[in-house]
């Protein structure tokens, strides 16, 4: 009996000492390059300006816009309810709390979609799910929502539907004469993740 205990004691010690070496080879954690490539190839990370406009208008609580441009650009113009996290500050711990909230869709916004794409790759590597990129960025937003072009008369009926939606959205976002971009802040509640995401309460 005693002999078994000695073996078990040594086994437990070896296992415990082993954990010290595990972590070193394991840090920092990385997503498998193959997997990342697969995700990058997929166009599913893009959301269109129409989709975002619709979500903002409907007050979709699952939408979280993150503007990754500089603070100056953010102050000048941004989308309603967007939070400003300049790309260079993305990895600051406080800013990471915006990501990974269950049930939230994070959409990165930049002037075109390059910076937003970069932010998206970074968050993927950190292992966060449900992050998206605004296709075409603010430029596309301006072209499609703020200043929509009427389609040719020969265009398909769906184009006219899109156009009429965009016209409506234009009214919504620029409406009531307040044309200066910075002040169109819709009151959107910004939610941050708590350090743990499982409900507390009890033993």
């Amino acid at each position: 009996m005693n002999k078994n205990y000695i073996i078990l004691t040594i086994l437990m010690l070896v296992l415990a000492v082993g954990t010290l070496f595990l972590r070193m080879s394991n840090e920092p954690k990385q997503i498998d390059p193959e997997e990342l490539l697969q995700e990058i190839i997929q166009p599913t990370r893009y959301v269109t300006t129409d989709q975002v406009a619709k979500m903002i208008i409907q007050g979709d609580p699952s939408l979280m816009l993150i503007d990754v441009r500089s603070t100056d650009e953010y102050i000048e113009y941004t989308l309603p309810g967007a939070v400003n996290i300049p790309l260079e500050d993305l990895l600051v711990e406080d800013n990471l709390l915006y990501l990974g909230i269950p049930g939230k869709k994070v959409v990165f916004v930049s002037n075109d979609d390059i910076k937003a794409d970069q932010a998206w790759v970074l968050t993927k590597r950190l292992g966060y799910g449900s992050t998206y990129v605004l296709k075409g960025g603010i430029n596309c937003w301006m072209q499609t929502i703020i200043d929509p072009q009427q389609p040719e008369e020969t265009a398909a009926a769906t184009d006219f539907e899109t156009y009429s939606f965009r016209k409506g959205a234009q009214m919504y976002f620029t409406g009531a004469g307040s044309d200066d971009g910075g002040s169109n802040q819709v009151n959107v509640q910004v939610q941050r993740r708590q350090k743990s995401n499982v409900a507390a309460g009890g033993c």
Binding site: Y5, T9, M12, L13, L15, A16, V17, G18, T19, L20, L22, R23, N26, P102, G127, Q194, K195, S196, N197, V198, A200, C203
Partner: protein, 200 residues
């Protein structure tokens, strides 16, 4: 991959089925180890029965070390598991009060349930006491609400507090626990020799 339910691998509908199954395993292990008897439990404080120390600390170090390996293999994302929030002063006081409760009452909540299951009346009274205690706490809550919420430090781990990586704590706990297992083996033998009338 894990934890399964927070990651949506298992639907939330299975929650309560899993809860009962895990509970059954928990109760079985406690009872089979002898935790359904208050005299076994109290023995840890008097040196005549260290079953609490053995089971408790074996479980603790197995879980601690196991978590490290689970994280390494990628089964568990340690950042996603629930970390008990820390309220410094209330927890110290709570721990002390529970220490009194343990020595006087001879059970802790989980073990008293298994005691009831096999017909121990003292376990039943302990559980009634638990109920009354929590009820009394709720009624008197406004008196110490400030204290109850004081010292909040958030969901912090030992690593957050000390800066020392978790594996070192796992190793430290393992070494201490193993030393305690060997030490108490001799203490128990010695104490039991002097306690001829000891019966469970």
């Amino acid at each position: 991959m894990g934890p399964l339910i927070p990651n949506g691998v298992i639907g939330a509908g299975w929650d309560f089925v899993i809860a009962i199954l895990i509970g059954i395993a928990f109760g079985f292990i406690l009872e089979a180890s002898g935790f359904s008897s208050s005299r076994n439990l109290a023995g840890v404080f008097y040196g005549y029965n260290f079953v609490v120390l053995r089971v408790f600390f074996t479980a603790l170090i197995v879980a601690m070390v196991g978590l490290m390996y689970f994280d390494f293999v990628g089964w568990l994302d340690l950042s996603k598991i629930f970390i008990l929030p820390t309220y410094l002063a209330p927890m110290v006081v709570g721990g002390i009060i529970m220490g009194f409760g343990f020595v006087i009452g001879g059970f802790c909540p989980g073990t008293s349930f298994t005691g009831i299951a096999i017909g121990k009346l003292d376990a039943l009274f302990f559980t009634i006491g638990l109920y009354l205690g929590i009820f009394g706490f709720s009624l008197a809550f406004p008196l110490f609400e400030g204290f109850y919420n004081s010292g909040s430090m958030g969901n912090i781990t030992l690593t957050d507090v000390t800066g020392i990586p978790a594996p070192y704590f796992a190793l430290a706990f393992t070494v201490i626990a193993l030393a305690a297992f060997w030490g108490t083996m001799f203490i128990e033998k010695k104490v039991r020799k002097n306690m001829k009338q000891y019966k469970f």
